[in-house]
Subunit: 337 residues, 2 copies
DNA sequence: CATTGTCATGCAACCGGTTGCACATCAAGG
DNA sequence: CCTTGATGTGCAACCGGTTGCATGACAATG
């Protein structure tokens, strides 16, 4: 019974309780969970049934102490509230859960020092870590990876397992799409300077637009948010661009807002393409954007990590997830100049 | 030394090693870290020095097993990707971290069975739990709370500590705002049937609109998502309402999309009000919405929980966080009929 | 019928700490 | 000089599991 102040008084059941109730030894109960093949099937069933009714669940901490396996992994992201990450986090959690692992979540606030601190704090109590869009330098990453298996998301460090959401195909398609609509002058509104994803986008766009003989002007959303995107609009209009490629959907929405404030209609006067596809299903107007399989990235990263933890994996892992353009309502024919 | 494949192999020193090297008992070493006041100062110094040279660090897992203090709390939400939760999750994580606690994250997929499973699984390895928008019934919640301190968010169970983002004030303001604009017939597009937040909104709206002598028709977004919201539009138009109050911002965006598809202009022909204020800073068009202090809810829940864990808290905790209307671009004067 | 092997289970040690209690030492008080 | 109390350490049990080894029961084999 709970005491009036809500502090718990009921004990969490342990193997000892089950063992006593059933008149078997603790080892038997333990084995019912870890090595059921060693027991008579009916014994296993008996134990599991009892565990069920008592609400017993093996204590990972205790297990960790004797086996050295914690059954916990850490996931560290730069900003939980950035809409790119929640689907990734969810997928990671669900996938880990499926393999009986728990997820410790950390938010580094885009801050390398904070990220390093979290990793150090988590390391002793986890079997491995997934670092999404890490802001640490290669050396620091390698150092942390010496203590526990580490899988990177959207960070390409040779020799470390990594999963990349590759925007290249998507941007190629986007630029082809815009070329077809008659656009000749593009603008790219870039994101965080150091980020792998921004590098990758710049390179991809630069390469693709030359294929179509288009002009490209590059801007920087500072910071890479709604407001940052909005602030670039004046410069974009001055550049004469008729189509904007944004670092991500958040920046794209900022650009949309800025354009509207300036009386520029989308898509009649200006086309806008986002990246990530994180808002499509939840906001209006439907944004033409590049879909980046971010949930899948989380899932794969966890799979790779758990393979590593179990000693199953081999070789240099570099998963590249391709992307594709999704045309919705924010792109249209280039305006007649 | 790390083995060639990068897996960590270095042996970690333990109290036993230090004890043997120093010719003292393990208890003495332990006490040098936990209760140095019980030891002769020079003994403490000797132990710490040895620990230093050996690179010893107390094993948290082992400590957790004997003390029952894990330094970990669990946070379970119905859907990590629902934009209401990420700010809450982040705030919770940051606040926990500040007090040296880690956060285990769980996603119940809006499923009571899954939620119960996660709680049971987490319970042995955490010091307490925060359950956001729990889908469990009161009895099940009470049962779980018997094992570990539990703090609820947006679930009002007397006797259990709870933090509520109260939409009442916000909806009062919204309805007053709409009344002032000349609206006489409202529509409410409701959310998940069992949810506390939906109940609360229905009651608040029903009360407020009678104060202004307005008509109210209620609809149900099934499911409570963008698509669900969009699907209600036809019925809303048939009802003759000139203003829509939505369960949350996601549903509101769905309604916006549906209205546009039907050629209904916002706000000229129809006003729309969201709830949660999770998109305002990241999407366009700026939605008139009700701001619920969701990040604060996460922060407060963690504070209360950690107070409880430390035995600091007393009494019946019921934190109600008020809300307010933020007028942006989706509400306007009622159209002349 | 004795022997051997297999199977299911129990015993007890162990993982790395914490902690109640007992014990030894020593100085102060009677 | 004996008692008392304080002080500093050690012993051993405990947290909740896991696991190598031993044991007992029983069936198959010679």
């Amino acid at each position: 019974m709970a005491s009036p102040d809500g502090s718990p008084t009921a004990a969490v059941p342990t193997i000892s309780v089950i063992a006593k109730e059933l008149g078997v030894s603790r080892s038997t109960v333990s084995r019912a969970f870890t090595r059921p093949d060693l027991l008579k099937p009916e014994t296993v069933e008996k134990v599991l049934a009892k565990a069920q009714t008592l609400g017993y669940v093996p204590n990972k901490v205790a297990r960790a102490l004797s086996t050295g396996q914690n059954g916990v992994i850490a996931l560290i992201v730069p900003d939980i509230a950035n809409p790119f990450f929640p689907p990734l986090i969810r997928a990671a959690q669900v996938d880990a859960d499926r393999q009986d692992f728990c997820v410790l979540l950390g938010d580094s606030a885009e801050n390398p020092a904070q990220e390093s601190r979290l990793i150090t704090r988590f390391t002793p109590q986890v079997d491995g870590l997934v670092l999404a869009a890490s802001r640490l330098d290669d050396a620091a990453l390698a150092e942390h990876a010496r203590r526990r298996p580490v899988v990177l998301i959207n960070r390409d460090v040779p020799g470390m397992p990594r999963v990349l959401t590759d925007s290249h195909t998507g941007f190629m398609q986007a630029i082809a799409h815009l070329a077809e609509l008659g656009h000749e002058h593009l603008a790219y509104v870039g994101g965080p300077p150091g980020a792998w994803s921004d590098h990758q986008r710049r390179r991809g766009i630069a390469a693709a637009r030359t294929d179509h003989g288009m002009t490209l002007t590059t801007f920087q959303a500072e910071p890479a948010t709604y407001d940052g995107g909005k602030a670039t609009v004046e410069a974009i209009l001055a550049s004469g661009a008729t189509a904007v490629l944004a670092y991500d959907d958040v920046v794209a929405h900022g650009v949309l807002a800025g354009l509207t404030e300036h009386g520029v209609r989308v898509p009649e006067d200006m086309s806008v393409v986002g990246c990530d596809d994180v808002f499509a299903a939840t906001t209006y107007p439907p944004l033409t954007t590049i879909s980046l399989r971010c949930a899948e990235a989380g899932e794969i990263a966890v799979s790779v990590l758990l393979d590593l933890v179990a000693g199953r994996s081999v070789g240099d892992v570099r998963h590249s997830l391709d992307s594709h353009l999704i045309v919705r309502a924010t792109t249209g024919p280039a305006p007649r100049a």
